[in-house]
């Protein structure tokens, strides 16, 4: 369901220009697609449920051409460089999470083909464990999306999707690169695409000694240091099978395995060697039925997340396993300008935790199940100039009352080139399994966080021949109550409580200017975000955080990128700015802003069915010494160079390609 409403977006009044803008480089690639370019490189914007039902909320997709430049990178690098979302990274290859619209890491939902894959234990997903090579589309959705995605979609959601095109023939790809600090990356893919069946296999392997030099601003005696004990190995496999049983029925089977072993760096503060192993298995099967005006999806999924943490000096050895089982049914019926959607979701979470310490082993397990019912309605009126939507969702758990969530919004085409959006929603975040059951300290009496969100925006689109301009400005305003915070208790250990209320508001702008002719295309992207996210309530007498910005949440972020394609050359320059972040909730200590630039370039060469590309990148071009999180140094200027090879044997085009998801 969720991500599976798959069409190429052709709703002209909705996202027409986004498609146009995004579409330009596509055409360039399409010109050479028979012989060259990347596996699955055609731009197909996969519509998801949000775009279908809640177009009144801000969303944008990172185009496949930009995505192709990040083929050897992780989601951490992609979002840091190509969005104004604040990415909280503990260092190259190290743990990274997001802060969207002033929320925390567990208030962003990471969705894999519409399924929430945030760890049920921690409530967040480590962006460094998402290799871009496995995905064909990365889209960002802003604001409260609980009516669609359930718990956790508060600040926003990030969609990771693959697409499947039937009847494409045989396609294979190998890409390998080498970089600074002993970094090696390799990924390969094989696509067999026939009329009725597709098999897509992707494998990646990354490893790095990751021993980068940095300047330690705290150690006056010895500022020049090399990061120690930060090496990592990451590998993964994604296998997908899509079967077109008949013109109305399609079955998708997906398997994603990911493994990462990381030593956690030692520094001036932490001298003991620690390491972390993550192993994730994700299985997803769905059956799609679409006939006339009716569409139905039945889907099931199983996720296993294993995390192991070792601190040899401290003799801590902890293993945490979570299992998630999802069953869902989602139905859509379209009657002229009316769209109706109803469905239900059942999710079972299981947690198993084993801690080995010197004084023995403690282990425990818990489970939680959740049942959700949802419904949505969309109206297209006035010659499709007006798009009105209303969605509701109610979830039930065995534990606490979950608030009713709702969303309503209007998208209105004021004028040919200008559209307005207005949306109100409520969203929630269920306490994570660790919040509820962690021993010691877990608090099973926690209430869910509740958020109330309004946003409004204007979208300006202008196209003239080969030039196009898209501008979007958005204002949002969100109140969150029952904000969950871990605090030491009088029992002698930390325990989560619903103590704070947070008010987040701000503005976002998006500007895309594109130019394209036969041999040359260029695009300028400029995103900014200004977020005030402050505490409005705290019951503690001596507290000095009211009205102050949340820690590690920048007020200003901005990102600009210039992408140029000329004949067989491509170049991408981007620069991202992150403002001051406070390290204390009374805002008396802070980290300095940083502005980091990266340069990527490539040259493509094609002959018959084979195409090759040599690519390279210079990261942190201006050699800035910076940290995102206090005392976790980031790498100085570093390099990567690589080669990718594609082989594509096109099938005879006997019928129209059916784009599906």
């Amino acid at each position: 369901m969720y991500g599976l409403k798959t069409h190429i977006i052709l709703l002209p009044n909705l996202f027409g220009l986004i498609i146009l803008c995004v579409g330009f480089p596509n055409k360039i690639n399409a010109q050479s697609s028979d012989t060259s370019s990347h596996l699955l490189n055609e731009v197909v914007i996969l519509e998801n449920k949000q775009q279908l039902l809640q177009a009144s909320r801000k969303a944008n997709s990172i185009d496949s051409v930009t995505l192709a430049r990040y083929q050897t990178s992780s989601l951490t690098d992609l979002l840091s460089g190509q969005s104004a979302i604040h990415v909280k990274s503990y260092g190259a290859g190290n743990i990274a999470s997001t802060s969207m619209r002033g929320g925390n890491a567990s208030q962003t939902a990471i969705l894999w083909n519409g399924l929430n894959v945030n760890s049920p234990g921690l409530g967040m997903y480590d962006l460094s464990l998402v290799p871009i090579a496995l995905f064909d589309d990365v889209a960002i959705e802003y604001g409260g999306g609980s009516t669609l995605w359930g718990s956790g979609a508060v600040g926003g959601a990030i969609h990771l999707k693959t697409k499947s095109l039937f009847n494409q023939g045989f396609h294979t790809k190998l890409s390998a690169s080498m970089g600074s600090f002993g970094t090696q990356k390799i990924n390969t893919g094989v696509l067999l695409s026939y009329k009725k069946i597709i098999s897509s296999t992707k494998i990646y392997y990354n490893s790095s000694a990751n021993n980068y030099p940095y300047k330690d601003t705290l150690d006056r005696d010895n500022p020049d240091k090399i990061l120690m004990n930060a090496d990592y190995v990451m590998k993964g496999l994604m296998q997908e099978i899509n079967i077109l049983a008949n013109p109305y029925q399609k079955i998708n089977l997906r398997f994603w395995y990911n493994y990462a072993f990381r030593n956690l760096p030692t520094n001036y503060f932490t001298t003991n060697a620690r390491n972390q192993t993550d192993e994730n298995i994700k299985l997803n099967a769905d059956w799609n039925y679409a006939k006339y005006r009716f569409k139905s999806i039945i889907r099931g999924a199983y996720f296993k997340d294993a995390n192991e943490y070792n601190d040899s000096l401290r003799k801590t050895h902890s293993k945490n396993y979570t299992h998630t089982i999802i069953a869902e049914n989602d139905n859509t019926y379209q009657l002229r300008q009316h769209t109706f959607n109803v469905g239900a979701n059942f999710t079972l979470y299981q947690l198993q935790s084993i801690n080995e310490e010197d004084d023995g082993i403690t282990s425990y397990s818990n489970q939680l199940h959740k049942l959700a019912f949802f419904a949505a309605y969309k109206l297209m009126a006035f010659n499709s100039r007006l798009n009105y939507n209303l969605s509701i969702r109610k979830e039930f758990t065995s534990l606490t009352e979950i608030p009713f969530t709702g969303n309503t919004g209007i998208y209105y085409q004021l004028w040919k080139k200008l559209a307005a959006k207005l949306n109100a929603s409520s969203s929630y975040r269920q306490p994570t399994l660790y919040d509820l059951y962690w021993q010691p300290g877990g608090n099973p009496h926690l209430k869910p966080e509740e958020s109330y969100d309004i946003e409004g925006g204007l979208e300006f689109k202008w196209v003239k021949k080969s030039l196009s301009l898209l501008m979007e400005g958005t204002y949002f305003n969100r109140h969150t109550k029952n904000w969950i915070t871990w605090l030491p208790s009088d029992k002698g250990y930390v325990s989560p409580k619903n103590i704070a209320e947070v008010y987040s508001r701000g503005t976002e702008t998006k500007t895309e200017l594109s130019y394209k002719n036969k041999e040359f295309s260029a695009r300028l992207i400029f995103n900014t975000s200004y977020v005030l996210s402050t505490y409005t309530k705290n019951e503690q007498e001596n507290d000095n955080s009211i009205g102050r910005q949340l820690i590690f949440t920048p007020r200003y972020t901005g990102q600009a990128s210039i992408s140029i394609n000329y004949k067989k050359f491509n170049l991408l320059f981007n620069q991202a700015y992150t403002g001051y972040r406070f390290t204390s909730s009374d805002n008396t200590s802070w980290l300095y802003p940083y502005c980091i630039a990266n340069l990527k370039g490539g040259y493509q060469y094609a002959f018959s069915n084979v195409s090759m590309e040599i690519f390279g990148s210079i990261n942190n071009l201006f050699n800035k010494n910076y940290v995102v999180i206090a005392n976790n140094p980031m790498p100085l200027r570093n390099y990567e160079i690589g080669l990718s090879m594609n082989y594509h044997k096109q099938k005879k085009k006997t019928e129209n390609q059916i784009p599906t998801n």
Partner: protein, 350 residues
Amino acid sequence: MVIYSKKMRLYISILIIVLFNSCVKDKPQDPKKTAVTVNSDYKVLIVNEGNFGWGSGTISLYDPTSGALVDDYYGQQNNGGSLGNVCQSITRHNSSYYIVVNNSNKIMVVNASDFVKTGTINGFNSPRYILPITYNKAYVSDLYANSIQVVDLNTNTISGSITCMNGTEGMILIYNKAFITNGNSEYCYVVNTATDVMMDSIHVGKGSSGICVDKNSKVWVLSSGNSASSQAGKLSRINPVTVQIEQSLNFNLGESPGKLCVNKTRDTLYYLNNGICQLQITSNSLPSNPLIYQGSKIYYGLGVNPKDYSIYVSDAIDYVQKSKIEIYKPDGTFITKFNAGIISNSFMFE
């Protein structure tokens, strides 16, 4: 960009107004850095742990006479340098202060007169407290090492170790015996400081940490208990000569008492248990109510000024902002309060 019509101009103007309204200046105001010099010989050093993993631990210097405060005394005296991560304790010995930096696994040595760094002792697992034994010898307790480290203060190196289960905490020295509490075991360990050999252990209950000596030269040990394993906290009075418990007072299950202190005349004990509790050493029972309730505060550090009996307590609040230090008279009357560093855990009165 191209502006087509008046209508368009209007829209653009609205857009700009919406986007650029009420932006706040990003650069925070630097705190006023007036070089505070505390000259009075009556001063208080406050140990601020800092946030585990990423925050800098600091030592604040407070002058009770003038109310002057130096936020980061070490940084001020050492050209902005940092002590490291998680300052656990400070101890004065000879003409130096020894600052135990837990997560950075080291002890910073600074000159007592000007707080300038003179050395570092490395090689610990997770050091907690340092106990000077002789002029050149000290013991260091450790949360994760299965031994007490013996340190040569002449060379600032570890010279030996005394096997002891991990979790060693507070220590005191009396009659050539070191009494060492342990947060993980149910025992307080006794080491012969002449031979550095473990000679005895005393059953004081789970989670002992606070330890002090009263005016009758009796050793008091506070154990916080463990609610998960249904073990209640306990306050034990030990005769250091016989190494026997003379008296034992039990807390209720679920209470987690901590931070044991003794006053100037060493006849009154103070500890934290849902507030500040006061106990005469002659008392046969624990007080049923705290002297000062903590209410919505989270009391974390405690100290009693040996000069004027005043009680210093820190409220760590949310653990990511400056702690509030409150000062009370021994009768519980509030005197004043001020902000120190992040997670203030103890006080040293000079």
